[in-house]
Symmetry: C2
Subunit: 432 residues, 2 copies
């Protein structure tokens, strides 16, 4: 998969078929996983807590269900009763919640073993953490699900859970060259996830490839989301311009490569144009997120301001000025925009855009720009980062497939088509 | 207000105008409040935790804002960093959360002083707690916001915060003869409230009267909700039958009394008929609530089943059988029903129904029947319990005013009209 770096992600589906129901296979996998985390995480810094070996082995041995014995890492924005949960903030240093987040419970019910918690930027906002990108350790893995993306990209775990309120799943997946899936808003439960903005907070999933992530989504949601056969001839709508950050030449070239691969594979592409409401949604996202975060993180802001990063404290300070009328207006516009979505998807299987304005920025001073993700989070659309492309600066660069709300199966299927088309084109290039 | 019992509620608006900005007034109020809680709660059992005197006095002295120095009690389903929070369950015995729920932060930002936590039925479900109804200590105050309703009805605090997922605010307000207000879904933040069903969980407010509760709602929501002048001539739609529990003769008589009082005061009443979708919503509420609770309380069910009441354990056991397809279908029906609401409110200011099928049941074995509340919770409509009527068995019996979603101001205004009309009619009866 990843010819450019030392690390490579591991397919969850392959692992599952390999361990099967063999107890020794489970034992070996758990020991290998913990050893690999220990060896690799010194360089990457993706984990905030790792399960004790005895506990992980016992959980694996006792596990039942479709994910029995599979190691999974959880963004440290979700509560776990048995692992420290700090939400990326010194305010919650050494905090041990009394219960598990609902997504953790669902994973355990399906047999998964929580092997560790992963680095999140502070309360899943934008202050950059110290995690490194496994594809280039001089760069950020993106954020806020920094550790989840990096842990999967480095092959520490086949699956990791993250979250997205702006672009916190799709962007790091793009930067790290793995599949990232932000489901339809409300598909997976956010109970026990530290709230930032209740209108947007969404559970996100990471895996090596689209089929891997679709399988995990199926198991967790109890819906037919796994990609069994890929539907031929999808039609993608490609926007002719964006009312936010312009894509870099690098991202545009990657998108063009994806488009050619799609057409070569029998898919079609048509240009689409956003209505003027799409620009209004950029402002609406900002208004709604601020208003809600000022309430959700009110305790931390009012009582522990000195322990917040200047970036988050400044954000919340400005957030305090948004009044209920402004918020309500933004929520009404958001509802109207959701009603306009059918038109946008008219005649297409899904939309296709860059996942981010560029490949991962150099250094660890920024987690990158979520501009290409925020509006889809607001609209509740399912989004998939499709990996497999590399940019001019040598890092991974993803394309994003966006679907209709509650049409996650079609969105994942179309993303798998794109992934396969890209792989085929890349194989042809290597062969010539 | 309450001629039938030893206790009477205290108007928050009156208290506020009495203490004004006088620091000594605040001190006296806080001391009186704590003394009254100590004296009264031995018989009522509304409180699970009471603030230490020094802490409450210091908070009152330091308070700023429209509620400065006002004592408020919080249902023990909301996190408080400084008071034990047990969600009505032995699983959380002595639990001290690390932060405050957002509604607690909003209250503190406005100057309120949290003087105690109030009894909730276990995780705000139906298992009856030991709290007694201040209007008749041989009866339940209703639930699940049992302690909040009882604390206000007994005059321990002028205001209390509760919650409603089925009928947990309106029903106890009706049984205790006070005002209860369940806002439009999403008007007040539920962050830091123990989740039962994320599609329905709503913050509820209790006060002596409708004007009192409307003022608190205005302060907390930053919206124009206070009842300044009451709008003349509202028109109420009264359903001619219900697709759930029939009202008792007692409740029907109370509703008739309210209707006559409304007409005498210049309001109007017209019969309305529910569409067939209203019956489908009863089943949808049950499906959605079960599916979500099985995820929200998954940790407690999977790991602490022996510490759940048989009632809740049985509910969750049956909940486990609801699949995603059934849930999704119910959610779709719910969305369609919300789209049908405009029709139901066509030509009326609000709907008027009993708040509960009867006055409070005798004994403490049941918190009563939420049938008259559940569908409005599902539909997200604002609801107000209007106090002032007494039933044939000698207990309070409320009527419920139901408004359009996000039309809370009109709903509260119409409820204040009903409250005033009832008081006037009762005054006339006393005079003759």
């Amino acid at each position: 998969m990843n010819a450019h770096s030392f690390y490579r992600p591991v397919s969850g589906l392959n692992l599952l078929s390999r361990i099967g129901n063999d107890p020794q296979g489970r034992d070996r996998l758990m020991l290998d996983t913990l050893a690999r985390i220990e060896a690799v995480d010194r360089d990457i810094g993706a984990m905030t807590a790792v399960a004790r070996r005895e506990a992980a082995m016992a959980s694996a041995a006792a596990a039942h269900g479709p994910l029995a014995g599979l190691p999974i890492a959880i963004k440290d924005i979700f509560d776990t009763h048995d692992l420290v949960t700090s939400y990326g903030s010194p305010i919650y240093e050494r905090y041990r919640p009394r219960s598990d987040a609902a997504i953790v419970t669902l994973l355990r019910r399906k047999g998964a073993v929580i092997v560790g918690k992963t680095v999140t930027s502070e309360f899943a906002y934008m202050a950059p953490p110290a995690t490194r990108n496994p594809c280039d350790i001089q760069r950020t893995p993106g954020g806020s699900s920094s550790g989840s993306a990096a842990a999967v990209a480095a092959g520490m775990v086949p699956y990791a859970v993250g979250s997205q309120t702006g672009g916190s799943t799709i962007r790091p997946a793009s930067f790290c060259g793995i599949a990232g899936y932000k489901p339809t808003f409300g598909l997976l439960p956010t109970v026990g996830m530290k709230c930032f903005s209740w209108s947007f907070d969404t559970v996100g999933l990471f895996a090596a490839g689209v089929r891997d992530v679709a399988y995990l989504a199926q198991v967790l949601s109890d819906r037919q989301l796994a990609v069994d056969g890929i539907t031929a001839g999808p039609v993608f709508g490609v926007p002719d311009s964006y009312p936010w950050t312009e894509p870099s030449a690098n991202a545009s070239a990657a998108l063009d490569t994806a488009v050619r691969a799609i057409e070569d594979a029998g898919g079609r592409v048509r240009r689409v144009r956003f209505g003027s409401w799409m620009a209004a949604m950029v402002a609406a996202h900002d208004t709604i997120q601020r208003y809600e975060a000022y309430q959700s993180l009110g305790f931390e802001y009012d009582r522990h301001r000195g322990d917040l990063s200047p970036m988050l404290a400044g954000f919340l300070e400005r957030a305090a000025t948004i009044d209920a009328a402004t918020y309500t207006k933004a929520r009404v516009l958001m509802g109207e925009a959701k009603d306009s979505l059918a038109e946008l998807f008219n005649g297409v299987t899904g939309l296709l855009t860059p996942s981010a304005p560029d490949e991962a920025p150099d250094g660890l001073d920024s987690t990158g720009d979520p501009a290409f993700n925020r509006n889809w989070t607001l609209l509740g659309c399912p989004c998939v980062n499709v990996p497999g492309l590399w940019g001019a600066r040598g890092g991974p660069i993803g394309v994003q497939v966006i679907g209709r709300p509650w049409d996650d199966a079609r969105c994942l299927d179309a993303a798998a088509f794109v992934e396969q088309a890209i792989a085929a084109a890349s194989g042809r290039r290597r062969a010539t």
